[in-house]
């Protein structure tokens, strides 16, 4: 596929661009949301799981007799028993890494499920869990990712995949890297550490599975996503035909990626339901979720190098990166595909190299978290750009501006092969500088320093790739495996006989605003009033392909799908109206819910046409069937195959957003505590469908980013125990840790490739905060010569650095 035709975007819009109040809200505001744990299925029983206390152990023996004897207990299932019915979980890595919904003979991280209980209540199920006796043979525990290559014997987590704990190793070079580095005047080097944090939405993951003897079919309610994309993979795990599994989506109380594909919980619930003959609800409690959600975020150690000319021109960017994937590898190393999508950021860097070593350790495996690994690359790149600015004595603003890809250079192909659709990075930077009063704060900072106050001004200019293509699932693999190239989104629109629009979505609500987006876009397309539009979600039985939210794709993709379906509907509206009005279709126009003959007052409203379409076949044109509906499956707007040796990954994430974050902070150097004096976030994600909800993503993402940067850490000790496995120790920011006012600005550079020019903006804030805040702290502490290269930057670490600096000075 070559670059798609550039789209013309209509300028006059009635609904797109409005801060319309959300369609989803009234039911959520009144406690009528129906999240997974709110759903009751008749005769439902409740499951709880026994979590491994060991990070790495062989399961020698399980004695569940005391648990089974407890009144109210329906079933105790061990991994060895479960595996007789249920196979391994879906895995996108190639070769796959076997993981089961209940560990079979070996546990590989603390919290892994060792056995599951079904009982009349969750209370009894937990009583029974307490009575299961397990004999473990502890195995050597691997926590340090640096040890992976030398692990041997029992310390190897997956002996079938090799003799050590290296999960995947590959070097990709893009462009004339070595040559460019040789021609550089300076090569700036920096080590950067990004520790694991995670999405931790307020609602955990759950599923209710039931098996109908009559239809011989499973129904699973779940707060999951991707069911209409790869939901059938769960039927494979359950060893049932795909048409004997129906997945019914519920709304999710937040995801941020972590509910993208909650297969373990669904497969477990279904396995238990099948084994005990009753519908089973399994909803993770917070401990289940923290220790075993399969969705911890990236955990990386970088050695970075950036080659530049002395004048600050960037030439080549390279890295050695070790990524601690934990015990399994469900999504392969797709996180590094995300990073490669915007590897060189907003800069004209000619060449790049990634030396990736992904390793297994005895920790919960990685999954998805807002950015999916690209936010980590933002941090790495921006840190080394700051380092280069320091080393070359150029201001952080100027080094960025000097290297930005210029507006007229788009579409712009970066070294990895991905193409950026459009952008105006200088405009975003200018707007942010202005909103922040950057220069004013520089002088205030200087005055404050004289009074012994430590103000820091941070800056980061980052990309937000949106709308992934599925090639990134496999292009890192040595053998691609299942090399899929589709990642569409669908919609079904039905205008009923009364003229109301019924819109069916094939992906879930997970805290974003799919109903509001769809409503605004349908209203725009069909000129139907939003109050006449009804949105529902299809299960897999009714499902058309829907890749789902994630990778900031939903708004872009659903807009494409709606435009497609609306075109068909409009065609039929025009055809019928033309027939009745005896006018040629070219003379008709659709306005305010009415098709009329241009320049006259003759016309028919949509309800009038719809009524004819439904019930008056004999009055319709001959080639018109009854009814008024259309469905459309919209494919990824622009993707190409990677080349064979992966020196070019193809186009896989082309809808490129951009942001500039400027935090201004003050540090109390005695306690290490930080306060926000100002926080500015300017985003460009193309045409904005709803400025209010976009700002919501920016602000919410920003506070999540503050969590990752300053507070949150899934910390495993030497024994592989997760020290921060609760909400008292895993520090999600409260209101008091958030900046009092995150000032949001927008620059609009429409995408030439998407409907209306929309770009994704869902991951927004979290992708810009870490480098921006790190640079602010570094800037505040400049008198101490402190470098920030590891997160989270807790007050304790700030104090440690200051103390060390003071001791150095003597």
């Amino acid at each position: 596929m070559s670059a798609p035709a550039v789209k013309d975007h209509p300028i006059h819009r009635r609904w797109i661009g409005q801060s319309m109040k959300r369609v989803e809200d009234p039911r959520l505001l009144t406690g009528r949301g129906k999240y997974i744990d709110d759903i009751v299925v008749p005769n439902m029983a409740h499951a709880a799981v026994l979590r491994s206390p060991h990070a790495h152990a062989r399961i020698k023996k399980i004695d569940a007799s005391k648990a089974r004897a407890l009144p109210g207990v329906l079933l105790v299932l061990t991994g060895a028993e479960a595996v007789e019915q249920t196979g391994p979980l879906p895995c996108f890595a190639n070769p796959p890494v076997a993981q089961y919904c209940i560990a079979v003979d070996r546990v590989r991280h603390v919290g892994e499920t060792v056995a599951a209980v079904v009982a009349e209540s969750r209370y009894i199920a937990e009583d029974a869990v307490d009575r299961i006796e397990v004999e473990y043979e502890p195995l050597p525990v691997v926590v340090n990712p640096g040890d992976a290559s030398t692990s041997k014997g029992d310390a190897v987590l997956h002996p079938d995949r090799g003799a050590n704990n290296i999960a995947h190793q590959r070097t990709l070079t893009f462009g004339s890297y070595d040559e460019d580095m040789r021609s550089a005047d300076v090569i700036v080097r920096r080590k950067v550490r990004w520790p694991r944090s995670g999405a931790q939405p307020m609602e955990t993951v759950g599923a209710i599975a039931s098996y109908d003897e009559g239809t011989r079919k499973f129904t699973i309610y779940a707060n999951t996503s991707m069911y209409n994309y790869v939901g059938w993979l769960m039927a494979v795990s359950l060893k049932i035909p795909a048409h004997k599994l129906n997945i019914v989506p519920t709304i999710a109380g937040g995801s941020f990626g972590s509910k993208i594909f909650t297969h373990k919980v669904l497969v477990l619930a279904a396995t238990l339901a099948r084994a005990c003959g009753r519908p089973v609800k399994y909803v993770e409690d917070r401990l289940d979720n923290m220790t075993s959600c399969d969705n911890h975020g990236s955990d990386r150690i970088y050695e970075l190098e950036l080659g530049l000319k002395r004048d600050g021109t960037m030439l080549a960017f390279g890295m050695k990166v070790i990524d601690d994937y934990g015990a399994y590898l469900q999504f392969g190393v797709g996180h590094h595909g995300n990073a490669a999508a915007q590897l060189t950021g907003p800069y004209r860097i000619k060449s790049a190299r990634i030396e990736l070593t992904a390793v297994f350790t005895n920790k919960c495996q990685q999954g998805a978290y807002r950015g999916f690994g690209s936010e980590v690359n933002n941090f790495a790149l921006e840190r080394i750009v700051d380092a280069a600015a320091d080393e070359l004595g150029i201001s952080p603003v100027e080094i960025r501006r000097k290297n930005f890809i210029q507006p007229e250079q788009f579409p712009y192909k970066i070294p990895t092969g991905n193409v950026y659709d459009s952008g105006n990075y200088g405009a975003v930077l200018d707007k942010a500088l202005e909103m922040a009063d950057y220069d004013g704060w520089r002088s205030r900072q200087a005055d404050a320093r004289k009074q012994g106050r430590y103000i820091g001004i941070g800056l980061a200019s980052c990309q937000e790739r949106s709308v992934f293509s599925s090639t990134e699932f496999w292009f890192w693999n040595h053998e691609p495996g299942f090399a899929l190239t589709s990642s569409p989104e669908s919609v079904n629109i039905k205008i009923d006989p009364t003229g109301k629009a019924f819109v069916t979505l094939y992906s879930p609500f997970w805290g974003n605003s799919p109903e509001t987006m769809a409503t605004q876009i349908v209203a725009e397309q069909l000129t139907i009033d939003p109050s006449d539009i009804e949105i529902t979600y299809a299960d897999t039985d009714q499902g058309l392909m829907g890749t789902g939210p994630g990778g900031s794709r939903y708004t872009v993709m659903i807009a494409g799908a709606i435009a497609g379906a609306a075109t068909d509907i409009k065609r039929k509206l025009f055809k019928i109206a033309g027939h009745f009005l005896e006018a040629s279709e070219q003379d008709l126009e659709l306005r305010d819910g009415r098709v009329s003959v241009r320049g006259t007052d003759r016309g028919m409203t949509i309800p009038e046409i719809a009524l004819q379409a439904y019930y008056f076949r004999l009055s319709l044109p001959d080639d018109c069937n009854s009814g008024l509906d259309a469905r459309f499956t919209y494919d990824h707007p622009y993707t190409t195959q990677p080349n064979a040796d992966r020196t070019d990954l193809g186009v896989f994430y082309p809808i490129m957003g951009h942001m500039c974050h400027i935090p201004i902070v003050e540090i109390d150097i005695e306690t290490g505590q930080l306060t926000y004096l100002k926080y500015v976030a300017v985003h460009d994600c193309g045409t904005v469908v709803n400025p209010m909800t976009l700002a919501g993503h920016v602000r919410g993402g920003t506070v999540q980013g503050i969590g990752s940067t300053m507070y949150e850490h899934f910390y495993y000790d030497e024994q592989g125990q997760l020290v921060t496995a609760n909400f008292a120790d895993y520090l999600i920011p409260t209101l008091k840790e958030a900046p009092p006012n995150i000032e949001v600005g927008h620059v609009v550079t429409p995408s030439p490739f998407t409907e209306y020019g929309i770009k994704g903006g869902g991951e927004g804030g979290r992708m810009g905060v870490p480098p921006a805040l790190a640079s602010a702290v570094e800037d505040a502490l400049r008198p101490f010569g402190v470098k920030i290269d590891t997160l989270p930057i807790t007050p304790m670490k700030i104090r440690d650095m200051i103390r060390a600096a003071q001791q150095r000075k003597g």
């Binding site: 920011p733 440690d800 103390r803």
Partner: protein, 290 residues
């Protein structure tokens, strides 16, 4: 995360409660606000066989002044302390400290007695109680006794209360005129337990410190009073220079341990910073009060 089963006893009088506790040893527990106990029970870290609910003992919920003493019933909710004019007047240090205890919904149920009996060394109120020389009144079937705050706290989550004994009242000398105070802390997030907290009082006149108390949360197994630092105040000029020295002494005296959230070094840093700042505020209030 559901609690293990237990036998529930709803006490309708103190005697009732004591009878409920008797004979079960450590297997019986008092349920007050439940804001610490139920969390631990949900995690199944604590599994009492018998739970004696004292929430109906409304005669244990009071704040009153009795000849020179402020008496706070053990069942007094933390939010009642927060909004009490009597406390604000007679025990401003506690009024200031109580706002650092969790969040409003937790304080609405959490009790003063429960907080003290729970004896978390990072908690605010034990430090306040020690700083103010509080005494604790307890009851068991053997009768009543009083325990000085200094003797009450033993180790994390451990006190000199017997398992069948009920804390019924906290007695605090009424605030002496002209005494300054401050409670300050650093916690990981708003509402969290303190990494380090300091309860400070100060009396000063004519530019000279006469006496002061410095008691810390988070730097030892129980509230830690640093006598050396207190002594260093006496007779010195009241002001930043002295407080800086005193803070240095305090930081040198405490022997905090390290954990995931704070190393011993960091805790010492906090002791140093908070001590000086608390004394500055205390001095200011002392001068305003005088």
């Amino acid at each position: 995360m559901k609690p293990a089963p237990f036998q529930y006893v709803r006490a309708s009088s103190i005697d009732d409660a004591l009878a409920g506790l008797a004979g079960h040893g450590d297997d019986a527990k008092v349920l007050a606000g439940g804001q610490s106990l139920i969390a631990l029970m949900n995690l199944r870290l604590v599994r009492p066989a018998v739970l004696v609910d004292i929430n109906r003992l409304s005669d244990l919920a009071y704040i009153r002044q009795e000849n020179g003493t402020l008496a706070i019933g053990a069942l007094t909710r933390q939010s009642a302390v927060e909004s009490s004019d009597v406390i604000a007047r007679l025990c401003p240090l506690m009024a200031e400290a109580i706002r650092f205890v969790g969040h409003r919904p937790i304080r609405n149920r959490g009790t003063v007695g429960g907080n003290l009996a729970h004896a978390d060394p990072t908690s605010e109120l034990p430090a306040v109680a020690v700083a103010l020389g509080a005494t604790f009144v307890t009851r068991s079937q053997k009768g009543q006794r009083t325990i000085a705050a200094d003797d009450f706290f033993v180790a994390p989550l451990s006190t000199t209360l017997a398992s069948n004994e009920l804390l019924t009242e906290v007695r605090i000398p009424v605030w002496p005129a002209g005494q300054g105070w401050a409670f300050m802390e650093v916690s990981p997030r708003a509402g969290d337990y303190a990494l380090v907290g300091v309860a400070a009082t100060l009396r000063a006149a004519d530019g000279v410190c006469q006496s002061g108390r410095l008691v810390y949360s988070g730097v030892g197994p129980r509230p830690i009073r640093v006598a050396k630092a207190e002594q260093a105040l006496v007779g010195c000029s009241s002001g930043e220079a002295t407080f800086r020295e005193v803070a240095e002494i305090a930081a040198g005296q405490v022997e905090p341990s390290s954990d995931f959230h704070a190393t011993a070094d960091y805790r010492r840093d906090l002791v140093r910073a908070l001590t000086r700042r608390a004394l500055m505020v205390a001095l200011d209030r002392c001068q305003k009060g005088a």
